[in-house]
Amino acid sequence: MHAHPGVEVGHDVHHDDHHGHHHQSFISKYVFSMDHKTIGKQFLVTGIIWAIVGGLFSVLFRLQLGFPGQSFPILETFFGHWAKGGTIHPEFYYALITMHGTVLVFFVLTAGLSGTFANILIPLQIGARDMASPFLNMLSYWFFFMASIVMLSSLFIQTGPASGGWTMYPPLSALHDASSGSKAGADMWLISMALFVVSSLLGGLNYISTILNMRTKGMSMTRMPLTIWAMFFTAVLGVLSFPVLLSGAILLLFDRNLGTSFFLSDIVVNGNILPNEGGSAILFQHLFWFLGHPEVYIILLPAMGMVSEILSVNSRKPIFGYMAMLGSLFAIAILAFLVWAHHMFVTGLNPFLGSVFVLLTLLIAVPSAIKVFNWLTTLWRGNIRFTPATLFAIGFVSLFISGGLTGIWLGNSTIDIHLHDTMFVVAHFHIVMGVASFFGMFAGVYHWYPKMFGRYLNSTLGYIHFWVTIAGAYLIFWPMHYEGLAGMPRRYLDKSIWQSFNQFADLDKMITIVSIVVFAVQLMFVFNFFYSIFKGRKVTTTNPWGANTLEWTTPINPGHGNWTGEIPEVHRWPYDYGKDGREFIPQTEPISASESKH
């Protein structure tokens, strides 16, 4: 299956347009753009803005956790009655953690990560002029934008945004009387999420069809860089699982507003006996986690793909075990659909069903272990250049090991009984999914920034960014495991009334201080990002990292259509680094007769 000739012709026409593209107005070039690179940058910038907002939320609730009861008058200045007397109101605290989770998981690490890199890298690395449907691609961004606007406005309504946790479990999220955030805020959350699902479907379908149909000549599936494979599996996961969240969200909207009883039964809230009978609150959890677990891999796989690519390029060695990497991606993608109930071991799940989910969950550790060992072997006997991107990729591997291993604890239902919904879980998923994926994203930004903007990020700031962030991540999340082992539940805003948990007050203070420092350093990265777009050191060569993949055969600032002439033909896999004594052999170079086989 090589590139479709018909599509190519169409794109050549498109490409001719590009020479006369000075007629493009500002709006069609930068706002309603159909160029995959611009759309990718739109996702990235929106993602960065959301990351600042979501990160700020975490700093605010960390202030409460580290210094419970202490007054910060500045909070009242900004947040009014939500922080009366400078202390965070419980309802505000729960709104903050809910929004922190929602924003980071969906808007930053899904849209901001996949949206950015799938858009920028897929056409460039497979040799296509644009996505299969540039129009749907544009719609994908604008649906995301609308979802963002709805979510953002929910922050400003009188009863506050949703505050039932990012998982929005009913009945808490379904009953207007159960919490202030379950009033209008929850409806807005659900509507925003519905729009978000549409965005991610439009994006995902586009990524899949582009990868399957629009590869350049010679780019067989097994010659694709692992980034593309990772984006492919990510898109498949998203397309198959997001609709299930949509159905859950719609049913929940019905329960909230139309008096249905999908998730409600036997409820007396605020002294009122509700008429609902026969619904199942647990049903929502099944629907939610059927998306929710694949979602974890939707977040993680793109990072894995980029890390594989960046480690290989910068250790000047082929990725070790390409087919095994591919197979393990595939295995993870399949298993991702079969493990959702491990989030529900203590909901009263049938114990036999529980045991099946234990087996399937722990099975994921096998492909994950293969990936880790393959990354290690990729570094082994390499000639490693520590660019900021490389460092973040190495940091990713370290975090993935640390967080992945605690997954083996939690995936085992016996242990999960004790650790479920404790701070141990918070530590686990922040390391393996949150911080690790962020590291993958940072690695991607530092590595492909020259391609995106024709300039470099300041690398000294990059090094500071890396060292503070990795040290901070471990300082914040490593000790948190101990809180969980003491049984401390998640989402407690004040532990002082608890004999068992109050002993961690000092630790919480330390964590809060470190998280503020780490947040400040992220702001520095954001500054570096925007400053370097205009003032960064200019890129002077088309292939600054000496990489084999196709994106580095385009001009330094590729226009719409990517290549000025013909799309290059591909003759080999993308990982011929250090072969036959040559530092790197681009994919476009034909295989010579004298070349050794691998």
Binding site: G165, S179, I267, N270, A281, S355, L376, F386, Y577
Partner: protein, 360 residues
């Protein structure tokens, strides 16, 4: 003022860092980009090694500082808890070994194979033997973990013994309530539409005669008998809660409309725990582990584990909910003189009001 200083210091630090970063770019140009890059490479390779060493020291130090605060593996106060502790121990050993080996290799390789003009990268695209090895070894390790895990899991979630004492736990925003069956050992039927905050907080169906002797306990600790299996029947009135018993290592969601159960045998009395922990104020705490609204963090209950005699003495002070609500029907009421009976029914009211007041 303090806030202002912090912001000012951060801004200043930021400015200085930025100037240094900018200057380093110019310095690199002056000294030759390649030379500067190689030196940075060496520094970062060295820092990775330092990070590994400091990290390992940090892991040790963190454990020294915090290990005393966690619930020690093997200190569980229930039979099931001991199984969970054993599982934790097995998992800690296996994952600990893997953690140590892989992290050391990762950072050591980075340091050892940093860029050098003297060496060329080794072209090593794949090796089937190696790949089989590191597929099989994790698979074996996981088989062990899954095996133990599932055996213990079925033991913990299996049927409760016949002689287990049944206690009903009901969560609502933001408190725990308990119901003990009376002498008949059976909890009477209930229906949520019968709930009446004042006279029938659980919605017991009075036409079910097994309800007559059920004891309702609210606003005070749950009492358990040591070494006697207990089966909790768990429910919720409004939203999902979760009965978290960290000292017993037990946990189960409380779901409105779908009752759940869990059983275990407490093995240490509260008094024993006071001695063992050296804390004279020790109490077993019930935490709510499923977010349930703005008072989630304060949804605290207590448990007292005691001998059979102590338990019986406590139980004797309790009156069934039915006769509390309908004192006139109490066959024993003649024991109590009439003025006291009036006082009794009025006593029920402040209690009920206290509950609604609790609720907010």
């Amino acid at each position: 003022m303090q806030t202002f200083f912090i912001v000012a210091i951060l801004a200043l630090g930021f400015l200085v860092t930025f100037q240094i970063a900018k200057a380093s770019e110019y310095v690199a140009v002056i000294r030759g980009a390649d030379k500067a890059r190689k030196q940075t490479n060496k520094i970062n390779a060295f820092l990775l090694l330092v990070f590994l060493i400091l990290g390992m020291i940090g892991v040790y130090y963190c454990n020294e500082r915090l290990a005393g605060k966690i619930l020690h593996f093997g200190s569980a106060a229930s039979d099931h808890g001991l199984l969970i502790d054993r599982m934790l121990k097995i998992t800690l050993i296996i994952t600990g070994i893997v953690f140590f080996i892989t992290q050391v290799l990762l950072f050591w390789y980075c340091f050892r194979y940093q860029e050098s003009d003297k060496r060329k990268a080794f072209y090593f695209p794949h090796n089937n033997k190696l790949e089989v090895i590191w597929t099989v070894i994790p698979a074996i390790a996981l088989t062990v973990l899954v095996g133990f895990g599932i055996i213990y899991w079925f033991r913990i979630t299996g049927d409760a013994p016949k002689d287990a004492r049944v206690i009903e736990v009901t969560g609502s925003q933001f408190k725990w309530e308990f119901r003990y069956p009376g002498d008949d050992g059976i909890l009477g039927k209930k229906y949520f539409k019968r709930i009446d905050q004042v006279n029938n907080p659980l919605g017991q169906m009075w036409e079910d005669s097994t309800n007559k002797d059920d004891i309702f306990v609210s606003g005070e600790p749950m009492h358990l008998v040591v070494n006697k299996p207990v089966k909790l029947i768990i429910g919720a009135k409004d939203v999902i809660h979760d009965v978290g018993l960290s000292h017993f290592r037990m946990k189960m969601d409380a779901v409105p409309g779908t009752p759940t159960t869990m059983w275990f045998t407490p093995t240490k009395t509260s008094r024993q725990m006071k001695e063992e922990t050296g804390n004279p104020d020790f109490v077993y705490e019930i935490s709510c582990d499923q977010m349930c609204g703005q008072g989630h963090w304060s949804m605290r209950g207590e448990i007292i584990v005691e001998s059979q005699e102590e338990f019986d003495t406590w139980m004797a002070t309790k009156k069934s909910r039915f006769y509390t609500s309908f004192p006139d029907l109490d066959p024993n009421k003649k024991v109590v003189p009439p003025p006291a009976a009036v006082a009794d029914s009025s006593a029920a009211k402040p209690l009920a009001m206290a509950q609604t007041g609790n609720k907010k």
